[in-house]
């Protein structure tokens, strides 16, 4: 996408509103900082940026009013692009020294401000949680003001005519997106905007589509493939795999049968282990073979590359804990 060139008319924006100037949407972030906020002195802006990348420490609660930094410093931006922080300096600059929580609330503009110290990324992330939990926790670059509005259970039409780039003007004080956003563009009604916002917050894990991994079973003549995204718990995947591979294990049914469901969590795997001497293992990103069930589900689907159903006897070296559990249960 090339930078739109014919917006020269906006160049006469010496006198135009801040909102109008932000209507110009630079497609590359490097140009954005020079295109917004004509009301500020250019030199001040550049010098602010330099100052902003300076790391300084101060006593808690102390303020250094002579130092103004932009909320989202530039070197942060390169590491944390996905956190949805603005590239360009914002209207509501705040003092940068380390400050206590109450100071944070009572910042110069009376808006949320964040402590700046050596641990830039972490602190900022923490501070940002105050204003926009979704943006940071998801770590994704999607947080328009429309989204924040959507987070409210009831949202009358949001504040009109305010520059989305400037949180001080927005009563929801969310972190702006990394690119300039235009009021009322794309032209979508508020209801739909808000609904889609809460939808994608819910489904953000599903955004990548499907995650197919191979499943092999010792002794089976062929492999299967499963979509890890269609399951939400270990219980689900183990019962699904059980169904899939039942035909291969019939000859190995234990006396109490495979159908025992105690309703315990990962105990399905233990049942498999218990009843049919099979263990579910997976290969992770490092190439190591691990026992399924140890880590939280989200982490598991993130790292799992393929699955293997292993005969219990071979799994002993792999899963000493599992064997212990098994012993404790029997």
């Amino acid at each position: 996408m090339s930078t739109p060139l014919e917006h020269d008319y906006i160049g006469l924006s010496e006198t135009s509103s801040v909102e109008r100037s932000s209507d110009k949407i630079p497609s590359s972030s490097s140009s954005s900082s020079s295109s917004t906020h004509p009301n500020e002195d250019k030199t001040t802006r550049t010098s602010l940026n330099l100052k902003g990348t300076e790391l300084r420490l101060g006593l808690p609660g102390s303020q250094s009013p002579e130092r103004k930094v932009s909320l989202f410093c530039k070197d942060l931006e390169s590491n944390e692009r996905s956190n949805g922080f603005a590239v360009s300096p914002l209207k509501n600059l705040m003092s940068g020294a380390k400050r206590g929580f109450s100071d944070a609330i009572d910042g110069p503009n009376g808006k949320w401000v964040f402590p700046m110290n050596g641990k830039c990324d972490v602190e900022l992330a923490k501070g940002a949680i105050l204003a926009s939990p979704r943006a940071v926790l998801e770590g994704k670059n999607k947080l328009p003001s429309g989204r924040e509005v959507g987070g409210l259970p009831q949202s009358p039409k949001p504040v009109q005519d305010k520059n989305i780039l400037v949180p001080s003007a927005n009563e929801h004080s969310n972190a702006p997106a990394s690119k300039a956003q235009v009021v009322g563009w794309p032209p979508i009604r508020s209801f739909r905007k808000n609904t889609m916002a809460s939808n994608s917050a819910k489904n953000s894990e599903d955004a990548a589509g499907c995650l197919y991994v191979k499943v092999s079973m010792d002794g089976a003549p062929y492999l299967r493939k499963v979509d890890l995204k269609t399951y939400k718990t270990y219980k689900e995947i183990s019962s699904a795999l059980e169904k899939m591979f039942t035909c291969f294990t019939l000859g190995h049914c234990s006396s109490n049968g495979l159908a025992v469901r105690d309703g315990l969590s990962e105990s399905r795997l233990m049942d498999l282990l218990h009843g049919s001497e099979y263990v579910l293992t997976y290969e992770d990103k490092d190439g190591d073979w691990m026992l399924v069930g140890d880590v939280p589900w989200e982490m598991f689907i993130d790292t799992c590359k393929r699955l293997r159903i292993v005969k219990g006897s071979e799994a002993i070296g792999l899963a000493p804990r599992a064997m212990e559990k098994c012993k404790n249960q029997s």
């Binding site: 006198t15 949407i25 009109q160 005519d161 009604r189 905007k193 889609m196």
Partner: protein, 586 residues
């Protein structure tokens, strides 16, 4: 009695003329005219002669007012004494996208007061982009004993308390249609306000309210309203509850499901499928919030006779959509999210040859790092498979001139072409040229075009094309486009049927504004925001054209000489008196 009184008063002074006039009794004329429904036909009829004007005004029962400030309620009541149904539109369309201040106006209350006095037997009120308070809704509910139908679209200022008043007092209510409003949702108890004796409801749409309603109350309501044909539920209604409702309402013609995603047992699934398959009259399906692909097959029996499928709140993948569409051969209107991607649209082209309308909404409109969504390829694929396509709303992130040329070649009958390339000012992504030729192709090929929304990088050439070829164009929406005043001048000079023009963020200034001087009185309205128009230009326009209302909305901190937002409309009611301080009437 009144028509014959009218006749007497006309006959006496003009007895000579009455013999020369064709012996066409007024009663017959009025009877014939009463069959005319289209308000445009009626307007034409009323211009023929004074007799016809009178006959028409006495026989009119429905009035459509496209701009509530173009006329006053008193004027309407004076001209049309027998109105039973009113449709009113208020704010400029860009208020949907937050470009109009909250307190701008378009309040219904003054209208209701006049109606209560002049039309006590009012039955229907359909409002779009009006401000309506709970007090107004209560006033409405108690003032009109025959009140039957209330439809609110994109309105704001009220809460569910107002709905409770309607439910409580309107004993003859047949329609309650609450769509996409800025409503203060205080809870679902309003639904329980329908009395147990109430059975007349035919249309109930509360899909856009978020609170839980009392399901038992809903179930009883649906059970006793045997004539119900439209039911659109909100997200809080589960699949299992849906099944229970459908069992009692197989006559439904339009259904909006609630949430379509809970875990169902096999038996529940079968029951749902069975309940749906009993709905033999169903032609419209919507809702499907959070739809999970695995439950969509339950819809297959309904799909065979569906003509309108609204999946715009269901983030389906391409394969899920393809499977579903294989069962929808009769589809005429389809709304989807761009999660279906180009592959999903290919399936549209393959399965729905009768398709006339397609709307593709963006699932993630503000995320610029997304590379999913639909492209020009999807649109082209649909055009190959659906030659009857005449209405399109398409949100995409890339487009080419060649693709649009192909599309209109395949589908030359477009009446509504609304293309939104989401990155403002974006050129043809392959040739890097402006999108002028794309819209040139549209207006040259689609001679029936009534509505056009343009986007992408556009020079004045686009508007030259529009002015030269779009002779039937009535509504034009322009954003981030054009190079100079010439563009808008071409449109004002060439589009003889233009009625609504809305422009934002374009380099059109006073010369452009004033080029339409004679045109604005034949239009409903003009909107220009973030353009180059100045206060002086607006003052000049206001001075030259006294029958136009020229309103300027100023923003905080803007230059005094710039006219940030301009709204111009014709009016026989004079300048309005309820404008807030931020709106200046010149």
């Amino acid at each position: 009695m009144e028509p014959s009184e009218l006749k007497r008063s006309k006959d006496s002074p003009n007895s000579d003329e009455s013999t020369r006039r064709s012996s066409f009794p007024d009663e017959v004329l009025e009877r014939v005219l009463s069959l005319l429904k289209s308000h445009r036909d009626r307007s034409s009829v009323s211009l023929v002669c004074k007799d016809w004007y009178n006959a028409e005004r006495w026989s009119r029962t429905h009035v459509f007012i496209g701009n509530c400030y173009s006329v006053s309620p008193e004027i309407v009541a004076r001209r049309f004494p027998k109105i039973r149904s009113v449709t009113l539109k208020g704010k400029p369309r860009f208020s949907d996208f937050n470009l109009v201040p909250e307190n701008w106006g378009a309040d219904i209350h003054a209208w209701l007061v006049v109606f209560a006095a002049k039309y006590p037997f009012l039955e229907e009120l359909r409002l779009k982009r009006m401000a309506i308070s709970d007090e107004s809704l209560e006033f409405l509910a108690v003032s009109f004993p025959n009140f039957k139908a209330l439809s609110l679209l994109s309105c704001d200022g009220f809460s569910t308390n107002g709905l409770a008043a309607i439910a409580t007092h309107c004993k003859n209510l047949t329609e309650l249609d609450i769509q996409e409003n800025g409503i203060d949702d205080k809870g679902g108890s309003w639904l329980s306000c329908f009395p147990e004796s109430f059975t007349s409801l035919e249309v109930l749409n509360f899909a856009n309210l978020s609170s839980d309603i009392n399901f038992d109350a809903l179930e009883r309501l649906v059970g006793r309203c045997k004539s119900m044909r439209v039911l659109k539920l909100n997200r809080s209604v589960s699949l299992e509850q849906l099944q229970r409702l459908l069992v009692n309402a197989p006559q439904l013609a339009e259904l909006g499901t609630g949430s379509f995603s809970e875990e169902l047992t096999f038996r529940q699934y079968v029951e749902l499928e069975s309940a749906l398959s009993n709905c033999k009259n169903m032609h419209t399906l919507s809702g499907l919030w959070d739809a999970k692909g695995i439950y969509l097959p339950a819809l297959y029996p309904v799909c065979t006779h569906l003509t309108f499928l609204n999946l715009s709140y269901a983030a389906l993948r391409s394969d899920e959509l393809a499977k579903l569409l294989a069962h929808c051969p009769r589809l005429k209107r389809l709304w989807v999210l761009d999660t279906v991607e180009d592959k999903g649209l290919e399936a549209v082209g393959l399965n729905c040859p009768l398709l006339e309308e397609l709307r593709v909404f963006p699932a993630d409109p503000f995320d610029e790092e997304i590379i999913h969504g639909v492209t020009e390829a999807g649109f082209v694929a649909v055009s190959f498979g659906c030659p009857r396509l005449h209405y399109v709303l398409y949100f995409c992130r890339q487009m080419t001139n060649a693709a649009v040329a192909t599309i209109v070649q395949n589908c030359p009958d477009f009446t509504h072409f609304r293309l939104c390339i989401m990155n403002p000012g974006q050129p043809d992504y392959i040739t890097n040229e402006p999108m002028d030729e794309a819209f040139g192709a549209v207006v040259k090929t689609c001679t029936k075009l009534q509505r056009l929304s343009v986007s992408g990088r556009l020079t004045d050439l686009t508007f030259e094309y529009i002015g030269r070829y779009a002779k039937n164009l009535e509504t034009l929406s322009v954003a981030f486009a054009g190079s100079s005043d010439w563009g808008m001048q071409c449109v004002m000079g060439g589009c003889s049927k233009l009625r609504k023009l809305e422009i934002r963020d374009c380099p059109f200034g006073n010369a452009a504004l004033l080029s339409g001087l004679e045109k604005y009185e034949s239009m409903r309205s003009l909107w220009m925001s973030a353009c180059n128009v100045t206060m002086n230009g607006c003052r000049l326009l206001a001075r030259e054209m006294p029958r136009l209302n020229v309103e300027v909305m100023k923003e905080d901190g803007s230059d005094d000489s710039q006219a940030d937002k301009v709204y111009v409309y014709r009016s026989i009611a004079g300048p309005r008196r309820d404008a807030p301080p931020s709106v200046l009437t010149l």
